[in-house]
Symmetry: C2
Subunit: 506 residues, 2 copies
């Protein structure tokens, strides 16, 4: 309150690593989520929202990068004076750990198998950096309670349909699939039994795309010195096992192999043990199911180099990749890399119940997918602002408000300018809002029963030289005076005519 | 991983005061938000999402109930070892404080006035109880940067339109409006200058609905002993000022007064000072604007007993109320009370900048509005599950998957059952998912080129005795065998025919 003593003024700033999202970017992001959600619901997946907080013990710690010093979660202790409870709570870092808790807690009463999708923010207490946020939105779909390979196939097919619904063209993305048990079999056959050593080796293979075989080979053995001079300790596998892994990883590198051919090549690459045979049988069933659902060989490929960094995967693993030459801020070509992924995790619910409960799912980062759409030239630019009714005199406010109401009642987004600035500032305001047009009801117009409409889209198209000026102006005048009764129909004409490519405004 | 040493099993449970939301309730809640958002966008309000965390100093502390011992926020200190920064951060407790921070931070580059809407969870570190959560979703719309009363009128009219869009009938809700400056004027005229005393008095008046004049009068004076034996200290106003307040509050209690008549009655109730005169002028302008926008006298009323508990309001205040006799769990009649509210807060951004920036807004709790819709008999029950394709033999999996794909391609939500249970459990599963029908492709059907379709909606209607059995069965058989080629058209007929009132399934 104005008569309160003033404390020192706080600085208006975001916490480090937390961003604001606004207007047209946010609308585009929400459309993306709505379209993907519609796909997931059409596949019979129901929405679930778990709270931001979980008890820390229930959440566990399954972050892929928990070996980095700053990785972690946002945790706080519940008020210990309140009922003697002082448990630690933490903000969720993904949607999978809360799902495992939810499924364990409600298993008896859920329809089984339980298909659910979820979207919403997740939080990671990491060191923020450019493009690296501590809060971001993920969108997941998972099925809990089915060990059938067809469940994995369904998740894969649905994820692919989601990417198309989001806006990617069919040839702009691929989902690569493999199975963790292939490595279980290789490790088993090679006598590698230490789980830490196995995980270190898997994370090395996970870098195949980025480092190539030479780098991965070093990380599988003693270790690797990177360009920056940092040394990463390796998994310490024997040269014999590393040789087997190389044969396995290079078994299916010829381009153009279909899914069945990849399985043939992999099975001939060496001794995959019992687990490997099981993996091949599962992948074969996934292939048959994908084909039954009409999923093409181009949309989903089998690729033995796919492992995924997360510790908890136990079977099939999936990774969606953007298939486009992309460039960085300076125009240099870069790999865009993964736009989502997932896999089967049969032991996550068992943490709570002791009994294994099969589960599989797919997750993508919403900002990452939005960035991919931009890189693919498929981002939407048709997010429009409202029609703006210009305000001249307080005495005519009733007239302005009435026009705004009439437009909205006709389904046209419209607002009356309610600041105190003059005509020029109001025109600038309308332009910045991305208004398709402004409505001018000055004293002259009012007494003549008319209205002046400025077509801002036409102005933008002219400014961008998108149209031949003379012909364009004749067909689409930048400004027209029409009877007041034609307000709605004139604006509808302007808005519907804007499907010509109008450049986005910022 | 299964070969990891097992730590003691965590218990699968929600943190105290945090809930999960699922399936049909969640879908209904999302529809509500989508419909209200569409209204807000039609009025020219753009979406904004600020992060969950704010720096604690930027967030401030403006909770209405900060005098209660357990009231508060969830706060934690940012890692002090990380770059030497150890600032306190807190989760937002509403959408207004983050908006004030955002507006102060970005004012130069924003379109002015800045109209934005926001929805999402807010967090309060309070003692949880039945129906009292520590995380809940709020939906807000605010305009920053206009001191025009028409801005308040627009927010009020839009909020009313939002309630209708959410599903309430026009006669099921009312928005009551007043102006804080009326009390500023009364206090001024009565010589009450202490801001704490003023706020205590306002919070007493805010309880008028619940306590009546007798209770409020005690709280304005020495204090009040409630039925539970708790004593609340009063504002300590003099009997003369209490008398003036009584005359003021009772000035407009005759039913059926229109907005202008209420202003007449209030202005005749006593000395309202300069601030009171200003309030009446603002309310009068709001009335004119509401009428210009076609807002009826029934939808928005002026009511001098409305104050709102929040400290930061400086002018017009609004409160939306459900107009329905409602009952509690035990069938006893209860006042449902407020379903949303807001007001003008011209000094909140000034905390950061030192310069006053006029602002006004409206907020509603999404669960509270959903509960109101339920109480008003306007909750939606038409949230349907997917069609379920029954699975008999692994050998025919291709046939089942193909049928599911065909249905989805035709826009019908459908899934293949992918558990391992038998026919009976699958039927139960389909019923619990709210499936309109199940698709049966047994060996006989497949070899005959046919498909059996069980109409679960018909079964539910029969079970609920909603239809005359014989006539109904003739018109709508519970089960039919049709050519496989008629799968989509038959299901479409069943789903489209379900607009007859089928009871919701749980």
């Amino acid at each position: 309150m104005s008569d309160q003593p003033l404390s020192p003024r706080p600085e208006a700033r975001n916490p480090r690593g937390f961003g604001d999202r606004r207007g047209r970017d946010l609308i585009a992001e929400r459309r993306l989520i709505a379209r993907v959600s519609a796909v997931y619901e059409r596949w019979g997946f129901e929405p679930l929202e778990t709270p931001a907080f979980e008890y820390a013990d229930a959440l566990g710690k399954f972050l892929p990068d928990d070996d980095r010093p700053n990785a972690g979660v946002f945790a706080l202790q519940d008020d210990p004076e309140d009922e003697g409870v002082g448990s630690w709570m933490a903000l969720r870092y993904d949607h999978t750990a809360p799902l495992a808790r939810y499924a364990a807690q409600n298993w008896e009463t859920l329809p089984k198998p339980f298909r659910r999708y979820a979207y919403g923010p997740v939080w990671r207490n990491e060191k923020p950096g450019p493009g690296r946020f501590r809060e971001f939105v993920q969108c997941d779909a998972d099925t809990v309670g089915s060990d059938r390979p067809e469940t994995d196939a369904e998740i894969i097919a649905m994820a692919g349909e989601g990417l198309i619904a989001a806006g990617l063209a069919p040839d702009q993305a691929v989902i690569r699939v493999s199975n963790r048990k292939l490595f279980d079999g290789l490790f088993e056959a090679g006598g590698v039994t230490d789980p830490v050593q196995r995980l270190t080796a898997l994370r090395a293979v996970d870098k195949f795309d980025r480092l190539g075989w030479e780098g991965v080979s070093a990380l599988l053995g003693e270790g690797r010195l990177d360009e920056s001079g940092d040394y990463t300790k390796g998994a310490g596998l024997s040269p014999r096992v590393i040789g087997t892994l190389e044969a396995f990883l290079s078994s299916a590198t010829q381009p153009g192999l279909d899914r069945a051919a990849v399985l043939d090549a992999v099975s001939g690459a060496g001794d995959l043990g019992a687990a490997g045979a099981q993996a091949l049988a599962e992948l074969s069933a996934i292939d048959r199911a994908l084909s039954a659902m009409g999923v093409s060989q181009d949309a989903v490929r089998f690729d033995p180099t796919i492992v995924r960094g997360l510790e908890y995967y136990t079977g099939a693993v999936f990774e969606a990749e953007l298939l486009l030459p992309t460039t960085d801020d300076k125009g240099r070509p870069v790999r865009f890399g993964s736009i989502g992924g997932g896999g089967r995790y049969d032991d996550l619910v068992a943490r709570f119940t002791g009994a294994s409960l099969p589960a599989t799912g797919f997750s993508f980062g919403v900002s990452r997918l939005a960035a991919a759409l931009k890189a693919a030239g498929r981002a939407e630019t048709d997010v429009r602002g409202p029609v703006v009714v210009i305000v001249f005199s307080d005495d005519d406010m009733k007239t302005y408000l009435d026009a705004g109401s009439e437009l909205r009642a006709a389904g046209i987004a419209a607002e009356v300018y309610l600041g105190r600035a003059g005509m020029k500032a109001q025109m600038k305001y309308a332009d910045r809002r991305g208004a398709p047009a402004v409505v001018i009801l000055g004293g002259d117009e009012i007494s003549a029963g008319q209205v002046t409409i400025k077509d801002l889209d036409a102005g933008r198209a002219l400014a961008a030289n998108l149209a031949d000026n003379a012909a364009w102006k004749a067909q689409r005048p930048g400004q027209r005076v029409v009877p007041r009764a034609d307000l709605v129909s004139t604006l509808r004409e302007i808005i519907d005519g804007s499907s010509i490519n109008v450049p986005p405004v910022s």
